[in-house]
């Protein structure tokens, strides 16, 4: 029996441990509240969707909590395309957060 407990971690796939390094971009008042235009972060593997990432960022400090205090108004893009909060982060290189757009 002794083999099982010690062998268990080996059964996990490599990417469960692999941290994802991703560039984040912030615009308009999201940028102002967070206090920087961009950064590179390495969220844990448990952060799988855009909504997970917002929740994880919110824990990082008051400036993030302020920027994301009303997640419903935050818009997101993965690799320069609009996405919904349930979008998967797998393979994303650049994720942007911003308020509703007011161009035109």
């Amino acid at each position: 029996m002794m083999g099982f407990a010690s062998a268990q971690p080996i059964l996990r796939t490599a990417d469960e441990y692999e941290e994802m390094s991703v560039k984040l971009l912030y615009f308009a008042w999201v940028r102002e509240r967070i206090g920087k235009p961009d950064e590179v972060v390495e969220p844990p593997a448990s952060v799988r969707t855009v909504a997970d990432l917002v929740a994880w960022l919110t824990q990082r400090g008051d400036e993030y909590a302020h920027a994301f205090e009303n997640p419903k108004v935050i818009r997101a893009a993965i690799d320069r395309s609009h996405v919904r909060p349930d979008a998967a982060l797998a393979g994303a290189r650049e994720i942007a957060f911003f308020p509703p757009m007011t161009g035109g």
Binding site: L25, F27, A28, W29, A77, R80, S81, H82, A96, F98, P99, P100, M101, T102, G103, G104
Partner: protein, 153 residues
């Protein structure tokens, strides 16, 4: 012919419109819309944007407009940076054989630019600067194009 430009400098709407139809005899209609910075109590506005995505997003909507209407030319120019009342902000020009397609495509592109292109306006009013809130009727303007697409399916 397709032209998409994001620029700080002003544009000449007349010249852009003329470029679209120059040398062509298949074009029967050119619609040219210019959005202008309105006074409305503000002294200036600054447009922030996400350059790489703005270009990609506008191109996607031009693709969509070309799928929906038989267009012979499209020009979209969006300015960024600080603008004062009276300054040009955006230009959408469409060319087609018949006016209905050119009008519809120009309106479609403007409605999508307002709500989907990654630009954000910050207004200077007195000594204050404030981010402009998104307008519900801009979202409603986009919704009606979705309903038309659904009806067409």
């Amino acid at each position: 012919m397709r032209t998409i430009r994001l620029q700080r400098e002003d544009f000449d709407a007349g010249a852009e419109q003329a470029n679209l139809a120059r040398g062509r005899t298949d074009i029967g209609a050119v619609v040219c819309f210019t959005g202008v910075c309105r006074g409305d109590g503000i002294s200036a506005m600054t447009l922030e944007h996400y350059p790489e995505m703005a270009e990609a997003e506008i191109a996607r909507h031009v693709d969509e407009a070309e799928r929906r209407w038989p267009l012979l030319g499209v020009t979209v120019i969006h300015r960024f940076g600080r603008l004062v009342p009276g300054d040009n902000i955006v230009l959408v020009a469409t060319a087609s054989a018949h006016r209905g397609d050119a009008f519809a495509a120009a309106e479609f592109l403007m409605d999508y630019l307002k709500t989907r292109a990654p630009f954000w306006k910050r207004e200077e009013r007195g000594g204050d600067t404030t981010w402009v809130d998104a307008r519900g009727d801009d979202d409603a303007a986009v919704e009606r194009w979705k309903r038309r697409a659904d009806a067409a399916e």
